[in-house]
């Protein structure tokens, strides 16, 4: 028997959960998302539990591993409630001090707070940190408050109230009207209006119907769906059940990539808990509506993020896209009407049902409503997930939230939209983010990857990187993508190796045009975008590679050289010891010299040379100065002269 059989019982149960919780009781929330776990969050949680027990506080202090709040750069992130004190980069060694100072004495441990690098000001509360201050976290905000493995945490925050409202107070048509009115657009890439997609399936004559969550987040550099699925799995489940009710589906699928083991674990557990509570199964909340959900693990194929390929994979076959003469919301999974939406799209649905379309449309621009989560990564100070209202400018996201480019380097471009998107140069940073705005400049929203590149990033290499990725991931079904990309990769690789020739750019343009016009699926059609956008905004870099055999960013291995500036070398031997091929000759008080014949250009010496010396030089298309004569190589140190 399910635990909860009606909306009234749900409310009663929720009050019971809340009554057991004292909002003023101390609670230690540690981010247990994959990023923080990689930085040691599990050890921190274990240390907290042990220390709290040691101090005899286990009855009064709760410790929990929560979803990802997004500030991965400074992980593991710890938030102490009720004060909401935020500690960053916490290690297990810091835990006794936090327990003794903050939990017992109510004092703040200053050294673990966020320090603004520009003003040297410290921020005690999470909401004071600039990274969070400028965000609008409708979806991500709950993550740090929820233990994703405990459904009661979600219920305590009002979880499943949207489902109860939809099932008891609204007809399916009313839900559909609300979603249509909210103008919620698909967060997975194309930005197709979710309401229209749902309506098509609802009106389709065939039965049964299916609803599907696309959690095959294959775009490299994007991890917002993972954070949602790991951190707040019930919000996605609730959206999916509402979607099923709206279009008349009784079966749902969650297609999640197996590279995200924690997401698979948390969503599987969430489904089990929802079944026990009665949010899934037969006669949900006494409404007469039945609904089940299955998890399908993706086996690693980027193309399966494409809707028709994903459905083919769900059927247990090789995930190749199908032509869309009839859209998949009419003929999709097993040729039946199927609504497929991205994780973030589904997570928005409970919010829209609860607060109404008018509330939702307050956020965003004319054509793009609501908020969008971006994964702000690459050469950026504050790496992490940021959720902003649509319409915020790229400049504000990168500088106000992201804190700009680290190490005093110069910003070059920001890449959005994953392998189907493009690179946007500095001159266009005032662009507001939105589906149509980004498409207009030759990029796209995609699922929300935002990769910042600085002066050290070679744009030709970036194009080559994406085309390489897509060549590898092309399913091989249609010729323009399978063969065209292979040729593009060959030419681009030659250019980065200094073997580019006149006419290469034109050939690349030809191949791009063909793929855009003739490829079968959206992935093939958008595949040339990384090349076309970099060519459009950074043509001079292509020409430098082809004509001068020079890589302006000094990144392409074949076009760069390393040498040691004898005036700067302090003969510290670090590079000589670290060189993996023994190409550096030198000794104590003997200026080091790189043997150009032996050098593999791995860059280790450049990396390890202490920044106060900065003796290792990287050049491109410049003659390497000859090694200094043997007799001049001895360093005579002043301090040793007597």
């Amino acid at each position: 028997m399910p635990l909860i059989n009606s909306p009234a019982e749900l409310e009663e149960f929720r009050q019971g959960v809340l009554a057991k919780r004292d909002p003023n009781a101390p609670c230690v929330s540690v981010c247990a998302g994959a990023g923080c776990v990689a930085s040691g969050a599990n050890e921190v949680i274990a240390a907290f539990k042990a220390e709290i027990e040691k101090q005899g506080l286990q009855a009064s202090v709760e410790t929990k591993g929560t979803g990802c709040p997004g500030f991965c750069e400074r992980g593991p992130v710890v938030v102490i409630y009720p004060e909401e004190i935020c500690y960053l980069q916490v290690t297990a060694e810091d835990v006794p001090e936090i327990v003794a100072q903050t939990l017992k004495e109510k004092k703040v441990v200053e050294r673990l707070l966020y320090v603004d690098s520009a003003t040297d000001e410290k921020a005690t509360l999470e909401s004071d940190i600039p990274f969070y201050k400028h965000q609008e976290r409708l979806l991500l905000g709950s993550n740090i408050k929820i233990d994703p493995k405990n459904i009661d945490d979600y219920l305590a925050l009002g979880g499943y109230s949207a489902l109860a409202k939809a099932l008891s107070e609204m007809t399916a048509d009313q839900v559909l009207e609300e979603v249509k009115k909210s103008n919620l657009r698909g967060r997975g890439g194309g930005g197709f209006p979710a309401g229209r997609k749902w309506e098509g399936s609802r009106d389709a004559p065939d039965d049964p119907k299916y609803v599907i969550v696309n959690a095959d987040e294959g775009d490299p550099g994007a991890f917002m769906d993972r954070a949602l699925l790991e951190g707040n799995p019930h919000s996605i489940l609730e959206g999916l059940i509402i979607g099923g009710y709206t279009i008349g589906a009784h079966e749902g699928y969650i297609y999640v990539r197996q590279e995200y083991p924690l997401a698979v674990e948390n969503i599987t557990l969430a489904i089990k808990q929802a079944e026990e509570y009665g949010f899934l199964g037969e006669n949900i909340l006494g409404s007469g509506f039945d609904f089940v959900v299955k998890v399908h693990k993706g086996a690693g194929a980027f193309v399966c993020g494409e809707s028709t390929a994903l459905m083919t994979a769900l059927e247990g076959r090789v995930g190749e896209p199908r032509p869309k003469y009839i859209r998949s919301n009419i003929k999709g999974l097993w040729e039946k009407p199927s609504v497929l939406n991205n994780v973030e799209t589904w997570a928005n649905v409970p919010l829209i049902v609860n607060h109404g379309a008018d509330w939702f449309t307050k956020y965003g621009t004319e054509t793009s409503k609501g908020t969008k989560i971006f994964s702000l990564v690459g050469k950026i100070k504050n790496t992490g997930l940021v959720e902003v209202p649509m319409g915020m400018t790229l400049h504000d996201i990168i500088y106000k939230i992201g804190g700009g480019v680290p190490d005093g380097k110069k910003f070059k471009a920001v890449q959005t939209g994953g392998p189907s998107g493009g690179c946007i140069p500095e001159s266009m940073l005032d662009l507001p983010v939105g589906f149509d705005e980004l498409s207009k400049v030759g990029s796209m929203m995609g699922s929300g990857g935002m990769i910042v590149m600085d002066e050290d990033t070679c744009m030709v290499d970036v194009a080559r990187y994406f085309i390489d990725f897509l060549t590898d991931e092309s399913c091989g079904k249609c010729v323009p993508c399978r063969e065209g990309l292979r040729q593009m990769l060959k030419i681009l690789t030659n250019i980065t190796k200094g073997k580019g020739k006149e006419g290469d750019i034109e050939t690349l343009e030809d191949l791009s045009f063909t793929a855009k016009a003739a490829a079968l699926c959206a992935l093939g059609k958008s595949a040339p975008n990384p090349f076309l956008s970099t060519l459009n905004y950074f043509r001079e870099e292509y020409e430098a590679h082809i004509k001068d055999k020079r890589c302006p960013a000094r990144s392409c291995k074949a076009l760069i050289d390393f040498h040691i500036d004898p005036a700067k070398c302090q003969a510290c031997m670090i590079c000589a010891k670290k060189c993996p091929v023994g190409a550096i000759d030198g000794g104590k008080n003997k200026i080091h010299v790189i043997d150009q014949e032996k050098c593999t250009k791995c860059g280790t010496c450049f990396e390890v040379c202490p920044s106060r010396f900065a003796a290792v030089q990287k050049t491109s298309a410049e003659p390497v100065p000859p090694p200094i004569p043997e007799e001049e190589r001895t360093i005579v140190r002043k301090s040793k002269k007597k």
Binding site: A38, F223, A299
Partner: protein, 150 residues
Amino acid sequence: MDNERIDQIIDKHHGEASSLIQVLLDIQSENHWLPKEALEKVSERLQVPLARIQHIATFYKAFSLVPKGRHEIHVCLGTACHVRGAPRILDTVQDLTGIKPGETDLDLKFSLETVNCLGCCALGPVVEIDGKTHGKMGTSKAADMLKSYD
């Protein structure tokens, strides 16, 4: 991998042909590769032609048709890791292990694979060994790290 265990996995998925990929994933994760005998068994039980199973086993990245080494190295080549120097990390790992992506060394010590994003972009460049994520990699750090495995 014994037949009994394969039966158990197939039963867990109710013996449905549409669960083929899920069955193969379970075998892969337990056995680290897909031996031909296991595939034949799956083919027989699920009533799916062996050719289709091989099509799937070669199409998806997660599957391997050859045995894997004791330690599985995954070098992340996602965009965020790429712009932070992942190709140089991969070169270093290749030089030190003597194998290329997709290969296993003769001692069955290391298997090397590349992945397109592990979602730990804040820690890039990232290398994952036996499921443990090592972040903020540099070429010399990668060399030191590899030495700690035997």
